[in-house]
């Protein structure tokens, strides 16, 4: 069933790319593939982190704020120490994200308050800290070293470095979830918290950790944001949370916890990013674009659904399941 879910999304993605390329062959030109990958990088990384949290039946709405805060931190660091090596700055950004994740995790695991409410609170908190810190300042490309800004141009076998990083994140998270005991326990916790507790799983710790990892990944996304866009103010990442959760859910991660994979979430992120990138290429009338985004999401889901039903019927030899 789960594999099917991902297949459906993959199919939708392939179809979309095929149609777009048919209309505008430029879509598969090296440059625009690179742009597409770079564009999907941030969303993918965030969707992976979010999936970990969602799998445990929680949610982290604060990711946009965390990413913004981390991006601004990296920028400020470069302003203060112009010659800072890129890895150090990157580490600092990730550290900022991790701290935010720890705050979320502690509040959720300790206070046993719905994660939605807690992270809504921290969404405003972190954003507020960002505002206060920035105090209206803006950090521009000129404030950051070229080596850092050029990260997107470094390629490995033709793939831009940030995309490679995103890929590694996906693979690592997927591998971990599948092959490690604590990874499997995340599913158990999200699927049936009671049963998980009874099986001796340290539920609080398993709820806590994904928030931290998600925070760290949001921090990483912030670093990549800074490198990619070069202009930073306190509003970076505003409203991102919805898209991130959507990418994960489109990719088959259940908001009710306990099911889904990070590969699916990554595919979801790729699909949403591709929709965004394909529309201008398809010369869709700009006034219609939003409507088309919505339509494409619905169609992808419909396709996915169709496939799932087909497979289920085949497996089951017909007949409904009902209960």
């Amino acid at each position: 069933m789960r594999q099917v879910r991902e297949l459906g999304i993959l199919l939708a993605l392939v179809l979309l790319i095929a149609v777009t390329t048919a209309v505008n062959p430029g879509f598969l030109a090296a440059q625009s593939v690179r742009d597409l990958l770079l564009g999907a990088t941030l969303l993918t990384i965030l969707a992976v982190g979010q999936s970990l949290v969602l799998i445990t039946r929680n949610v982290d709405l604060s990711v946009g704020s965390v990413m913004g805060l981390s991006a601004f931190a990296v920028g400020t660091l470069f302003v203060a120490f112009p010659g800072l090596p890129t890895p150090v700055a990157a580490l600092a950004g990730v550290a900022v994200g991790t701290v935010c994740g720890v705050v979320n995790g502690v509040l959720v695991a300790a206070a046993r308050v719905p994660a939605l409410v807690v992270t809504l609170g921290t969404l405003y908190m972190f954003r507020g800290i960002d505002f206060w810190w920035a105090s209206g300042r803006q950090i521009n490309a000129a404030d950051m070293p070229d080596g850092f800004l050029g990260l997107g141009r470094v390629t490995l076998l033709g793939v831009p470095l940030p995309a490679v990083v995103a890929l590694l994140v996906v693979l690592a998270a997927g591998w971990y979830l599948r092959n490690y005991r604590s990874g499997r326990e995340l599913y158990a916790v999200g699927s049936e918290p009671q049963a998980a507790r009874l099986s001796g799983i340290p539920v609080d710790r398993r709820v806590f950790a994904p928030f931290v990892v998600n925070g760290a990944l949001a921090g990483l996304a912030g670093v990549l944001y800074a490198a990619r866009f070069g202009t930073l103010d306190a509003t970076v990442g505003t409203g991102m949370e919805l898209e991130v959760v959507a990418a994960a859910v489109v990719g088959g991660v259940a908001i009710f916890g306990g099911s889904g994979t990070v590969y699916g979430a990554a595919l979801g992120a790729l699909l949403l990013s591709t929709i965004d990138a394909a529309l201008p290429m398809l010369r869709v009338d700009s006034f219609w674009q939003q409507a088309v985004v919505g339509l494409l999401i619905l169609v992808s889901i419909g396709l996915d659904r169709l496939l799932a039903v087909r497979t289920a019927r085949r497996l089951r030899g017909g007949g409904s399941r009902g209960a």
């Binding site: 625009s32 742009d35 505002f131 105090s135 209206g136 521009n140 866009f229 202009t231 700009s286 939003q290």
Partner: protein
């Protein structure tokens, strides 16, 4: 509103003057001039582009308007790429981000397009000319004049701005404070600056708090179109209507109701249609080689007359227009 993002003119050598200008060059017919606003569905931008369309049609060019549905830099980049692929002669852009669009713009320029920025500038390195709607000094001066006159030269005033991070807003606020420091305004005191985030509800809340916290408040200046309309809407429905002066930057259509019902007497803004019109002429002149974007060059802009290019490749549209009950009906934006 279209007034929230920076027209900060960064450093750099100014409009990349390449080659020599030939003031007498013919403007060819059929120039493809594409307008790329910050965001498509923004009435302000739509109105500005209608000026651009007027200019392009006068010059027998091909007008085109494309853009993202949300004001962000990354989607502007893909439009720039598409336009340059299509071989557009000129790209007229209101940048959502001064730097993020630079790479794409420079690629387009290498491919033969000329680039004019309007409303909000890009980094000067990656465009030929910037059409500045008005200088910050002028904008600040006009607003201070209006409020001073309406409150009778003395009393407490407050500012209702957009977001605390909006660079252009902050520049205007600073310049207004400077202006108010002059002797002629000695009896006017600025008691508060609040931020409505260009959100209706938030602006309502902030106005309400301002009025509650400063019982002697005489006037409010809102240098943001969203904020001004929201503040006017709030005032017109509250007990303070007629007691507190409200002015700032706003569009005539939005403010018409409140000027008519007496909530607001006067407010100002540049004419965005003229700005688009001027940008259209500038783009055509660049494309034809009449100008290169170097300081001191002049060009002719149809019904607006002649303009001179200033430092950094900037062209200033002129002083803001003041709107009141007498002239508000003549505008439609």
């Amino acid at each position: 509103g279209g007034t929230t993002r920076g027209d900060d003119s960064g450093e750099g050598s100014g409009g990349g003057a390449q080659g020599e200008a030939d003031p007498d060059a013919e403007i060819p017919e059929g120039l493809a001039i594409s307008f790329l606003p910050k965001q498509l569905n923004n009435p302000y931008m739509t109105y500005a582009n209608s000026g651009g369309q007027e200019a392009v049609e006068e010059l027998a060019g091909e007008f085109k308007e494309v853009g993202p549905s949300e004001a962000n830099a990354s989607s502007q980049v893909s439009y720039i790429n598409t336009l340059s692929q299509q071989g557009s002669d000129a790209i007229v852009i209101a940048a959502n981000d001064p730097d993020a669009v630079c790479g794409a713009l420079n690629q387009a320029r290498q491919a033969g397009s000329v680039v004019v920025s309007y409303d909000s500038d890009t980094n000067p390195d990656c465009r030929d000319v910037f059409i500045n709607q008005a200088t910050a000094e002028e904008i600040a001066r006009v607003q201070v004049e209006m409020v001073a006159e309406q409150i009778g030269g003395e009393g407490e005033i407050a500012f209702l701005s957009a977001t605390p991070n909006a660079t252009n807003q902050n520049t205007w606020l600073e310049l207004m404070e400077e202006e108010l420091a002059k002797d002629e305004y000695a009896d006017i005191e600025v008691v508060d600056t609040v931020y409505g985030n260009d959100d209706d509800q938030k602006s309502f809340n902030e106005m309400q708090a301002l009025l509650q916290s400063h019982p002697d408040l005489a006037g409010v200046v809102a240098p943001t179109t969203v904020g001004l309309a929201a503040a006017a809407r709030y005032l017109s429905g509250s007990d303070y209507k007629g007691e507190v002066v409200l002015t700032g930057l706003g569009t005539p259509n939005q403010m018409q109701e409140y000027v008519e019902d007496g909530t607001v007497e006067e407010f100002a803004l540049w004419d965005p249609k003229d700005m688009g019109y001027l940008a259209g002429y500038a783009a055509a002149s660049l494309s034809a080689g009449r100008i290169t974007g170097a300081e001191g060059e002049t060009f002719e802009a149809g019904r607006l007359g002649d303009y001179e290019i200033g430092a950094n490749g900037e062209v200033v549209l002129g002083p803001p227009t003041v709107f009141n009950a007498d002239n508000i009906d003549e505008y439609d934006f």
